[in-house]
């Protein structure tokens, strides 16, 4: 080595590996309008299908007359449940063990439900055909309140299940009941509550909202009748799972189905489920022999494809007079709509709601969740969260605030008293999880210091006094949150979807000239996998990230995986990537030793090369090794340099964070202003700080939307009141405040590179931070609990009900 030899630091930097804020390689095409989304797919002779949808929330379908529709120029077919029935496709299984009508089979259960599928030469003809289909409905009594759904004399919604006392997740206690799912020790918890110094009790409602990705759902199905192969392009967050499910439903052999997820314009859980549009497009393509495209419009998307949340969480939290929490009880009434189409691991019908003990050392707890049918759209997906973790985090972070009120204690101090301590990890929670690692106190103190918490409280107290003196009409709210997520589903032993184990995978091929391609079972919808997975690999195998292509989403080429949602890509596929990289390195070590004429044990890894121990000037770079792997006959070693890894994680990962929102509230108009938002995230090892920051910005913005205005609201007749972006709040740059991001780093002890996942943390932590700020502003005037979304009129009503309007 001489002065011209790059230093270890220079060589490391050159790789753009872990910890590098590498620019997103995807952005070149997206910023130039060169993305390739499903609606960009155009094929010769392609047809277009679209739905006749129900205007009623609950009605019997007496008759469907397609005669006039079939006269519309360009309309080729109108499919109804009767046409699908001989194929057994008029109903389909949901991911939650229920079944769902593909097309209305005798009745409809929610407004916007798919009634008939019009197939036409183009989408304009299809729209005219939809208008011409005559459907005769007989309206039935509508149930939109999940509590009323369980009244003894409530209308029977699911006549197909009548008399069935056993559901997919145990006994059904009522004709509109889906399941009761329980965790923890009910008896012990109730005994603690009965004898506690203090018990705070409250109903915490997390309203119904919608992931609303910028690109709605859609697909193109193309059945090649010559070779019997079905190709399905679509907005799928889990392409392999779609292939397997499509094979099971249709009877087409799995090797004859190819599923491709092209560029996807955001998913946020909305694109995990299986929708009638996919089934109908496939059938229509089989029937016509032509490719068939189905693309939702915005109203379809908001009205019919998967919503999120709608959890009524009744909570009781017990504590000593000094503020040490002694027990937590929660009963949730979960509104699932007309079909149970949650996208949760099979054994978890309420997702990971049992993470609801949060960041706190709570000795005993109980959770019961009753799932209920109503006349609303099905769904209940994890909208930028890991399976009901947002609900759980919102619940516990509200309960902590309410307990603080009950104890007349500072809410930051109450959290401090109850955090799980660093030395308690791995920590067994009362509701059954093993938290892998955490250092909550350090994060908390860092966050409080960063915002000058004491100063803020002082300012707030002064503001309250000024308000009382009539000098201001604005209140100051300080919204605190410390959240713990559970992501990275997950261990196959307890996480599967429809029996498909939730492992993930990576396959790597190193090219002779020292570049590589890696394929994964996941699929990016904006997460930047092509950027970050290349960085993981760069650090593992010593080839520059810029020389590594990442490919996902084509089931004919990518290894099997369960897809991207629930912040599982980095914890599971990211781990598979690292493990596959290590297999490459193991083979490379043997090749290097051969080339350097030393024993395998006499070489050591050094950033991008193997060097002889004690003689660093004698080395072979990964690029040199790759060339030799293909082109030099090495005794006892197969040619080539490839590896594949299927990773079944030993545990979930538990990212956490401390978020603080400072909000000004105009009590006269209900208008709020975010003065400051501080987000500290600990997602373990940080792969790309810039992408993490982007994820936090995006996730907190979605949290802002949810907490402050976004909802899917129904009237009593089951009409969707917020079916367009006029009423459904999607923040623009104007409504989006400035964010301060920060971090601590507590690696996961069981993940190969210590990473935990971050995409969903800001939504999980952001919602309670915003909501707690609203509540905190009114704490001095006696507010305990109000319901989201905190839009102008709800905040105004809070102020009004507290007598602040004189």
């Amino acid at each position: 080595m001489n002065d011209l030899t790059p230093s270890r630091e220079e060589r490391t930097e050159n790789l753009k590996g872990l910890g590098c804020s590498r620019k997103r390689v995807e952005d070149a095409r997206f910023t130039q309008g060169k993305g390739n989304y499903v609606d960009d797919i155009k094929m010769p002779g392609m047809l277009f299908g679209d739905f006749v949808r129900s205007p009623y929330a609950h009605a019997r379908v007496k008759n469907i007359n397609s005669e006039e529709a079939l006269k519309v120029p360009g309309v080729l077919a109108v499919l109804t449940a009767k046409d699908l029935e001989p194929l057994g496709l008029h109903w389909m299984p949901t991911l939650a063990g229920d079944k769902q009508m593909v097309l209305a089979d005798g009745k409809v259960l929610f407004q916007g439900q798919e009634v008939a599928f019009v197939v036409a030469t183009d989408r304009y003809a299809a729209a005219d055909g939809i208008e011409a289909v005559e459907v005769e409905y007989e309206e039935l009594p509508v149930v939109v309140d999940p509590f009323k759904a369980l009244d003894p004399d409530a209308p029977v919604l699911r006549e197909d299940l009548e008399g069935q006392t056993e559901g997919a997740h145990g006994p059904r206690k009522h004709h509109n009941h889906i399941f009761l799912w329980e965790a923890g020790d009910k008896e012990a918890t109730e005994s603690v509550l009965a004898s506690a110094d203090v018990v705070a009790e409250e109903m915490v409602y997390y309203h119904r909202t919608h992931p609303c990705p910028l690109e709605p759902c859609g697909c193109v199905a193309s059945m090649d009748k010559v070779n019997g192969k079905l190709t399905l392009w679509g907005t799928f967050q889990a392409p392999h799972a779609v292939r397997t499910v499509a094979s099971l439903i249709s009877g087409i052999a799995e090797h004859n189905i190819r599923v491709i997820s092209p560029d996807i314009g955001g998913g946020f859980g909305n694109k995990v489920g299986v929708y009638p549009g996919y089934v109908c497009s496939i059938v229509a393509s089989i029937v016509t022999g032509k490719p068939v495209k189905w693309i939702e419009d915005r109203m379809d998307n908001l009205m019919a494809t998967a919503f999120a949340r709608d959890y009524w969480m009744k909570g009781k939290i017990a504590a000593t007079k000094e503020g040490k929490i002694t027990g937590l009880w929660c009963h949730t009434t979960a509104d699932h709509g007309g079909f149970d189409a949650c996208a949760d691991p099979t054994k978890f019908p309420a997702g990971f709601m049992n993470i609801c003990t949060g960041s706190y050392d709570i000795p005993v707890a109980y959770l019961g969740v009753d799932g209920v049918y109503t006349n609303k759209a099905p769904g209940g997906v994890a909208y930028r969260c890991s399976f009901r973790v947002t609900e759980a985090a919102y619940f516990i972070e509200r309960m902590i605030e309410i307990l603080a009120i009950e104890l007349n204690m500072d809410a930051a101090e109450l959290r401090r008293i109850n955090f799980i301590k660093k030395e308690q990890f791995p920590y067994q929670s009362a509701l059954g999880w093993e938290y892998d690692s955490g250092d909550y106190h350090t994060a908390w103190e860092k966050a409080l210091k960063a915002v000058d918490y004491e100063g803020l409280r002082k300012e707030q107290a002064e503001r309250v006094e000024a308000f009382k003196r009539g000098e201001t009409r604005k209140l100051l709210g300080i919204g605190l949150t410390h959240f713990t997520e559970i992501v990275g589903a997950g261990p196959v032993k307890n996480c599967d979807i429809l029996g498909l184990g939730m492992f993930d995978s990576c396959e790597i091929r190193i090219h002779p000239t020292g570049s590589a391609i890696a394929r994964l079972g996941t699929i990016s919808q904006g997460q930047g996998h092509a950027t970050t997975f290349a960085q993981i690999l760069a650090s593992e195998i010593g080839l520059p990230a810029d020389s590594i292509t990442i490919e996902e989403g084509d089931t004919d080429t990518a290894p099997y995986g369960l897809g991207t949602y629930g912040s599982r890509s980095t914890p599971v596929a990211g781990a598979a990537t690292a493990m596959a990289g290590r297999k490459i390195r193991a083979k490379a070590q043997m090749i290097a030793a051969y080339l350097l004429e030393v024993h395998d044990d006499d070489v050591e890894w050094d950033v991008d090369r193997f060097a002889v121990k004690g003689a660093p000037e004698r080395f072979k770079t990964m690029a040199e090794i790759a060339f030799a792997a293909y082109n030099q006959a090495i005794p006892g070693i197969e040619p080539g340099l490839e590896a594949v890894s299927y990773y079944d994680p030993p545990n979930m990962t538990y990212p956490f964070g401390a978020y603080i929102c400072v909000m000004e509230i105009d009590v006269d108009t209900g208008v709020h202003e975010i003065r400051q938002f501080y987000a500290l995230d600990d997602c373990g090892t940080r792969i790309n700080p810039m992408i993490i920051e982007g994820q936090v910005h995006g996730g907190v913005t979605e949290a802002l939307a949810i907490a402050m205005g976004q909802e899917i609201a129904y009237d009593e007749m089951g009409n969707v009141k917020t079916g367009t972006l006029m009423d459904f709040f999607l923040p623009t740059a104007w409504e989006t405040p400035n964010y301060t991001t920060d971090h601590t780093t507590t690696p996961s002890p069981h993940h190969p590179i210590g990473a935990k996942g971050v995409g969903e943390s800001p939504n999980v932590g952001g919602v309670p931070a915003f909501s707690n700020a609203v509540h905190d502003a009114f704490r001095a005037f006696g507010l305990r609990q109000s319901h989201m979304p905190h839009d102008h009129w709800r905040i105004w009503k809070t102020a009004h009900d507290l007598g602040l309007h004189g």
Binding site: A127, D668, W796
Partner: protein, 284 residues
Amino acid sequence: MIPARFEYHRPSDVSAALAILTEHGDDARVLAGGHSLIPMMKLRMAAIEHLIDLQDIAELKGISVDGGTITIGAMTTQHELIDNADLAKAAPILREAALQIADPQVRYVGTVGGNVANGDPGNDMPGLMQCLGATFHLVGPGGTRDVAARDYYEAAYMTDREDDEILVSVSFPVPEGGYAYEKQKRKIGDYATAACAVQVTMAGGSCTAASIAMTNLSDTPIWSKDAGAVLVGTDCGPGAIGAAVDAAVAAIDPTEDNRGPVEFKKHVAGVVIRRAIERAISRA
């Protein structure tokens, strides 16, 4: 979200547009910026067989400040209102109000004429035009006709305009004194929860003229003669402002929607009106 089939016409002068309108009667509608009409067509709530796009008609565009009168062509966009230096100087309330309409993309296409002619109670320009005492100029088969903005609106989407007339321009005297357009909305792109336009002139510490109009607080814009009258002759102190607010609130009749119930809207209207009056006075 695909409209029914329609014929698209793109005349290059007003008489050609009128001829098409006359020929097709109820089946035809003129298209300005399209922000109200196109969504209604896409939702198939409006079936228009003949759509007459006015964008190629040069005589419908432009802003003139001539002597004491401002005239704005119907096809002038909101963006052009914001961008016109003469107008900003002569009637700054227009710029202030236009900047609160939707977002730049909408304002590049949305027009003054479409905004005032359609009779949508959510639109901002009708209330503003009533505040300014504007006159709307209509052309029909029988010639031209002028209608005061304060007389134009009958109910939601119901106006004094006949089906075979086109609104070609609006004009109003150059406003004097202080001004304000105050609007509360849920988000960018939303209609007002409550909005209020105010012009006030003061002389020697006393109010000499005041005009107050409100948006989206009834099924038409509301110009409250009483609210203005209450201020005139006073020093515009808290008592007078309070009385003006009370008079203005007494004139509105909001309905419940996703923005909130009537009680909330009336309360917010009072706050918004007060802020508009106070800001206008501070500039008078």
